[in-house]
């Protein structure tokens, strides 16, 4: 469960204070599929960084599974990211010249999981994204965009995190492939994974069950879709 309470983030450039988030509060329950939507410059990237424990808020509290993440040290944040967060990026960020399996298993290295178990868990994660098995030993740069993003999703899944954070996951894909990736998220959500999708595209956000609109650093609207 994610509880954000009056989160603010202010950047200090030279003498100038730039407030980016101006008191954001919302709660995301386990198993939800939420889209955070807003135009560029709305602060949604900053919000994602805070949600993903890559950054800490200037003020306010962020409870992730009842643990206050807002005031942790860099090292503690790394532990949170390792155990509780799975990232999916717009540009995939796969290791080039490495096999699909190795890419997916990479986060487990930092959890000191033994090699055989890493491979097994990477395979399971890949199966749940629907990538065909004959691709598992391919090098990541031999894959198509859609395949790469599914590898990236598998990598986010492999540690069995509390939250999967996807930052514009379809931004580098054509519409058809994007739909495929969004379907993957949908299926994962059906299996109980909590997914937060950050996007500026209405069409993409529509796939989630709940949309939080951000504008100028504040929550503009928070609407749950009627379950279809």
């Amino acid at each position: 469960m994610i509880v954000l309470d009056k989160i603010t983030k202010t950047y200090f450039n030279a003498d100038e204070e730039v407030p980016v988030l101006k008191g954001i509060s919302f709660t995301i329950n386990d198993g939800e599929y939420v889209a955070i939507m807003g135009p560029s410059g709305s602060g949604k990237s900053t919000l994602m960084h805070i949600l993903g424990a890559l950054d800490t808020p200037t003020n306010g509290s962020y409870l992730l599974d009842n643990q206050d993440v807002s005031k942790l040290s860099e090292k503690e944040l790394a532990h949170i990211r390792k155990d509780k967060i799975g990232f999916v990026f717009q540009s995939f960020n796969l290791l080039p010249r490495s096999t699909v399996i190795r890419n997916v298993a990479l986060p487990l290295i930092y959890s000191r999981v033994a090699k055989e178990e890493r491979t097994e868990r990477a395979r399971q994660a890949l199966f749940s994204t629907g990538l065909s098995e004959d691709r598992f030993s391919h090098l990541s740069n031999q894959l198509s965009g859609g395949q790469m993003q599914r590898v990236a999703i598998a990598r986010a899944l492999v540690t069995n995190p509390s939250l999967i954070l996807a930052d514009e996951p379809t931004g580098n894909l054509d519409t058809a492939t994007g739909e495929l990736v969004l379907d993957t998220f949908k299926q994962l959500n059906d299996k109980g994974h909590t997914i937060v999708l950050i996007t500026h595209e209405r069409d993409v956000a529509e796939h989630a069950n709940r949309i939080i609109y951000i504008k100028d650093g504040s929550v503009l609207r928070d609407e749950a879709k009627k379950s279809s």
Binding site: H49, G52, L54, D55, E74, K75, A78, H79, R81, K82, D83, F87, F89, N93, L95, R97, S98, L106, P107, I109, Y110, S111, R112, K115, R155, T159
Partner: protein
């Protein structure tokens, strides 16, 4: 992160850029190879000099005129060639120092020597029958100078093989021929076995004559240039050294040992002196090679910095999926240490081959010692740590958000 995983990551990262990794370690390879080769040459020179000193005879003491000078205020120029030792001193040592096995007074000068139509400039050593025993010398053909030759001041000479080659040609039998030393005629009665020395005091390039003859016909006085004394065993060396010093002080009527006009040195002193000279030579050679090692280290740092920049996004990703700063810095540090370690290993092998080649081609003897090899390994790993530290730290301190956005 487990060690095995760390090593696997390192292997994958380094083999992803094989050409660059190879070129970078080349600097370390050259550095380590030259350190190994240079010190091998230095150590080889040291053992050559030591063996030539010990091959001059065992348990030897040298009595030379003049004073042994350390760092002092007095200028002692010319004292080394001073004429303070006489034939009588040598005789007195022979008679009174009972522990001395052999006493060989020597009068060494360089003269122009002529044979039929040929001539050379070589050392003429006036000595006695004791010389071959003291200096480990054997006579190949004919015989050495006898006691009778010394007593009768015979004009006979024993020739070294190199001098024989110069005067009579290789393989010629010189026995019975006559030569002129400083225009005085000598008959050759023997030739020594080649000892294979080299440099300024080559025992093969010399002519041996009775000391009395040398004093009378060549030098024209009764002085000797040095006295070699052979002890029965190594234990009695110190006693003999003491006895000779006391005897000569008494004979020369000198009460203060610091004012002695002669020096008694034993082989150990000479060895120590030679070792300190060759030791300095080795350090000099090694430090020149060390500079190239340093340059290699800078190359490693350069490559690692490029590496960190190129892999900024990868670092960002690794941090995003939970890598701690220590995980990242270890990964890059191990990469640079692995590079230098590999460079060190190849360098040691190359240096060894170089040292062997130098010896094989006959330039000089070389000696690769295990402690040099271990030192080279240690130094190369250390260079990896020192020059890899800054890039690794830089990588670990990257902000993951900015690193992920890096283009």
């Amino acid at each position: 992160m487990k060690v095995a995983d760390l090593l696997e990551e390192t292997y994958i990262a380094l083999s992803a850029n094989k050409a660059r990794s190879a070129l970078t370690i080349l600097g370390i390879v050259i550095g380590i190879a030259s350190v190994i080769a240079m010190t091998a040459i230095g150590q080889g020179a040291q053992s050559t000099i030591q063996s030539s000193i010990t091959s001059a005879g065992s348990n030897l003491l040298y009595v030379t005129p003049g004073q042994q000078r350390g760092v002092g205020v007095q200028v002692s120029a010319g004292r080394g060639s001073a004429q303070t030792l006489t034939q009588e001193d040598a005789d007195a040592i022979q008679q009174e120092v009972s522990l001395a096995k052999n006493v060989s007074p020597e009068l060494t000068r360089r003269y122009q020597v002529t044979a039929k139509g040929t001539n050379t400039n070589t050392s003429v050593i006036g000595t006695t029958f004791a010389y071959p025993d003291v200096h480990n010398m054997q006579v190949d053909q004919g015989s050495f100078i006898t006691d009778a030759d010394v007593k009768s001041q015979s004009r006979v000479a024993v020739i070294g093989p190199t001098t024989r080659d110069d005067l009579f040609g290789t393989d010629a039998n010189p026995i019975g021929s006559t030569i002129k030393i400083n225009k005085v005629e000598f008959r050759i009665i023997g030739m020594t076995v080649a000892k294979g020395g080299s440099g300024f005091s080559n025992p093969d390039d010399a002519i041996y004559v009775p000391i009395s003859t040398a004093q009378r016909y060549l030098a024209g006085d009764k002085y000797v240039s040095n006295i070699s004394v052979q002890a029965n065993d190594a234990e009695s060396m110190a006693t003999i050294q003491q006895q000779i010093t006391e005897l000569l002080l008494q004979r020369h009527k000198i009460s203060d040992p610091l004012q002695a006009d002669f020096t008694v040195m034993n082989q150990a002193d000479i060895l120590a002196m030679a070792s300190s000279v060759t030791g300095t030579l080795t350090i000099l050679l090694a430090s020149i090679a060390g500079i190239s090692l340093l340059v290699g280290g800078v190359g490693i740092m350069n490559m690692m910095l490029t590496n960190v920049t190129e892999r900024t996004r990868e670092i960002g990703l690794r941090k995003a999926i939970g890598a701690e700063e220590s995980d990242i810095s270890m990964q890059f540090l191990i990469e640079s240490v692995m590079l230098t370690f590999l460079g060190g290993a190849i360098g040691i092998i190359l240096g060894w081959i170089l040292a062997f080649g130098v010896q094989y081609l006959g330039f000089t003897t070389t000696k690769v010692t295990w402690d040099m090899v271990l030192l080279a390994f240690g130094v190369s790993a250390l260079i990896g740590i020192i020059f890899g530290y800054y890039p690794a730290r830089r990588a670990s301190k990257l902000n993951p958000i900015q690193a992920l956005r890096f283009e």
